[in-house]
């Protein structure tokens, strides 16, 4: 989305990069449960600039969604609590703000779109009313102008016949239309940052293509920063400018999208990319190939192994990996990897 051509490896990436609109530094969000402390987010840093799309990928339980909820301070407390780090929006640490100040940020400056639009919309009100309510609340507009703006927003997200559709209840709309309504609501106050948490996972692929195209167009029109959280490597490859890979509550790799997909350096990223069936390998049929497996499964966040959390599943793990956790280091310009063996591996090696 709004991708910048020719800036690969220009030193703009990575933690602490200049010009960041939203900057998360060493964020720690823990859940205090009867069975122990679950370190859902354990020292994660990333940043995103205006007009840029940051892809955050990882499997369920890797902490990608909790990081997003932490940004908006929407983590349920108890059992969850942000125990460390900073979240800066244009330099201001959101963790220092009071509830009321935070409410002014949510929806206005940072908006969020969730995976399942049906559970995020109130079934008892028309979608026009719900979008209008958000506008009235955040912009202090009277009811009638707010409703007019709601219809305008529905038109901007390419909902056909927006005047009639505004009178519909959520159950009368298809999944794709509901997600358009959610996007209309999220964009109604011109946010600087849009956090999209699996925005197309519940949708069919042809509808997914429509929604992603819409988000790209809107980003170009409004110049907002987008944090795109997904488990789908294809969605990331086609939409993100830069990519953060998370595993077991930590960031294990960050790079520009071309670099990440062409020269992944962390064994987990490489494993993920090799384990998914690739469509563009069709045509070369013949015997069906076995997929590359990542052995075992994601460890429980309450009982993480010592050292690197990926070590028990990693084919290259050494004794050092099992004892101490590798720090995230910039092994190549703009390419950050948390792996003891990353520097030994020349880029481009399969």
């Amino acid at each position: 989305m709004g991708r910048v051509v020719g800036e690969v490896g220009g030193g703009k990436s990575g933690p602490g990069a200049g010009g960041a609109l939203l900057e998360i530094d060493d964020l720690k969000t823990y859940f205090f449960t009867p069975t122990g402390i679950v370190k859902a987010v354990d020292g994660v840093s990333y940043s995103v600039r205006s007009g840029e799309t940051l892809g955050v990928v990882g499997e369920s339980g890797c902490g990608k969604s909790v990081t997003a909820l932490s940004i908006l301070r929407l983590v349920a407390d108890p059992p969850g609590r942000i125990v460390g780090g900073t979240i800066r929006l244009e330099g201001r640490n959101l963790l220092d703000l009071g509830q009321q100040q935070m409410e002014a940020i949510r929806g206005n400056e940072i908006s969020m779109v969730f995976q399942e639009p049906m559970t995020s919309l109130n079934p008892l009100y028309t979608v026009g009313h719900q979008v209008g309510e958000a506008i009235a609340l955040h912009q202090g507009l009277p009811k009638r102008p707010a409703m007019a703006k709601a219809v305008e927003m529905l038109r901007r997200v390419s909902i056909p016949e927006p005047e009639q559709r505004a009178q519909s209840f959520p159950h009368q709309l298809s999944g794709g239309m509901r997600q358009r309504v959610m996007i209309a609501m999220a964009l109604s106050c011109n946010p600087k940052v849009l956090i999209a948490d699996e925005p197309t996972t519940a949708l069919d692929v042809t509808i997914q293509a429509q929604i992603l195209e819409l988000m790209r167009e809107l980003q170009q029109a409004y110049g907002m920063a987008v944090v795109l959280i997904t488990h789908d490597m294809g969605v990331v490859a086609e939409n993100a400018d830069r990519v953060v890979v998370m595993y077991a509550g930590r960031k294990v790799e960050e790079a520009d999208v071309e670099v990440l997909f062409e020269r992944p350096a962390h064994p987990y990223t490489r494993g993920l990319l090799h384990s998914i069936p690739h469509l563009d390998e069709a045509g070369k049929t013949g015997p069906r190939l076995r997929l590359n497996e990542i052995k075992g499964m994601v460890p429980s966040l309450a009982q993480l192994p010592a050292g690197c959390s990926f070590a028990p599943r990693c084919g290259q793990a050494s004794d050092r990996c099992r004892v101490s956790a590798p720090p995230l280091q910039e092994h190549w310009p703009g390419h950050w990897v948390a792996c003891w063996h990353a520097s030994r591996r020349a880029q481009g090696e399969p």
């Binding site: 298809s174 429509q210 490859a237 469509l279």
Partner: protein, 354 residues
């Protein structure tokens, strides 16, 4: 030549070892009545499956792909007679099973098994994993207790579960392990055909690969036939020999997977292929077809070709006349008026980015 006769003549896809199809489905339809009011008046019908024909050879995988509501899962359930078909015939190794009652179906149930999408919802939480896998053996009276226990243990090992876990309950397993239990249960009676309804879509990416590999290994080992129903084209492409694309209750295209991906003949297949995001950085520069609008309701499907309301190539005839599934080029069937006067191939463009 009728579709079925033509398919027979084509001798099935790669991996077919015999000429008689294991499964033949002809003109299958399934309609669900919509009931309204106090007296359950039937006010309409959902045309979930609307005249579908295909066959599967021994050792072959047919992938059935389409978006939600296209009827692909209903096809799977109807051909196992978990739902009663509204019309059409289902043959297993030549025997017509369409009208058989539950008792007469019993010997066929051994031969046809199913794996479900949600491994948690399809396992009884009050039975141990061993009881779940062994239950088909008890129902069909296969072997004595000791033999059954040994069989369950060997099934556990075959699907990659430690036999010590036989006493554990479903909630004690991870998602991938639960799907392995579901697979072991489906294998218990040495079936010939397994219908997999979205067997990997609920699993994480790294676990998906493990289950896909297991399914392919089991197929090679036991010469199983699969009907795999899925919405994920990349998964279907990886595991299938032939692929049928469904749209709103009908098969719109069917061929071997290489032909489908190299040269989709139906505009819907073309759009579907181009909508799938490809995990390659180079993929973002490719051309794509983005469809307008949503899938129409199967209660009131559009007349003529069901796809004409969204088709970028639609013309007058498409709105009035249903296109038949016919062999447009050898061994490649499509239901589209574009090919009425012979294959019209500017439609197809290669999927790989230029």
């Amino acid at each position: 030549m009728s579709v079925l006769a033509a398919q027979k003549a084509a001798n099935g896809g790669p991996g077919a070892t015999e000429r008689v199809p294991l499964l033949e489905v002809h003109d299958l339809a399934k309609r669900f009545p919509i009931v309204k009011g106090l007296f359950s008046r039937v006010s309409g019908q959902v045309h979930a499956v609307d005249g579908v024909s295909f066959h599967i050879h021994p050792g072959e995988t047919l992938g059935l792909v389409g978006e939600s509501g296209c009827g692909k899962s209903t096809v799977g359930r109807t051909l196992l007679k978990l739902l009663e078909p509204s019309a059409g015939t289902i043959r297993v190794a030549g025997d017509d099973i369409t009208a058989l009652d539950a008792k007469a179906m019993l010997p066929y149930r051994k031969r046809l098994q199913m794996i479900y999408q949600d491994p948690y919802a399809s396992l009884n939480p009050r039975m141990s994993a061993g009881q779940i896998v062994g239950e088909p053996l008890i129902i069909h009276g296969v072997g004595r207790q000791q033999e059954q226990r040994e069989r369950v243990a060997s099934l556990f090992e075959r699907v990659g579960l430690r036999p010590e876990l036989m006493g554990a309950f479903p909630h004690e397993f991870s998602g991938g392990q639960r799907q392995r239990i579901g697979i072991a249960r489906a294998l218990a009676l040495n079936p010939e055909l397994i219908v997999g309804d979205e067997p990997v879509s609920a699993l994480d990416v790294s676990i998906q690969a493990q289950i896909i590999n297991l399914l392919m290994d089991l197929q090679d080992e036991y010469k199983l036939s699969y009907l795999l129903v899925a919405h994920d084209l990349a998964v279907i492409e990886h595991i299938s020999h032939r692929i049928a694309v469904m749209y709103l209750g009908r098969i719109v295209e069917m061929t071997d997977k290489a032909s489908l991906f190299a040269m989709p003949l139906h505009p819907y297949s073309e759009a579907l292929l181009s909508a799938v995001p490809i995990p390659r950085a180079s993929a973002r520069r490719r051309q794509r077809v983005i469809l307008k609008g949503d899938v129409p309701s199967p209660i009131n499907p559009p007349p003529g070709c069901h796809f004409h309301t969204r088709c970028p190539y639609a013309h007058a005839r498409c709105g009035s006349e249903r296109p038949t599934l016919r062999e447009v080029v050898p061994r490649h069937w499509a239901a589209c008026h574009l090919h009425d006067a012979g294959p019209a191939l500017p439609l197809a463009r290669p999927l790989t980015p230029a």
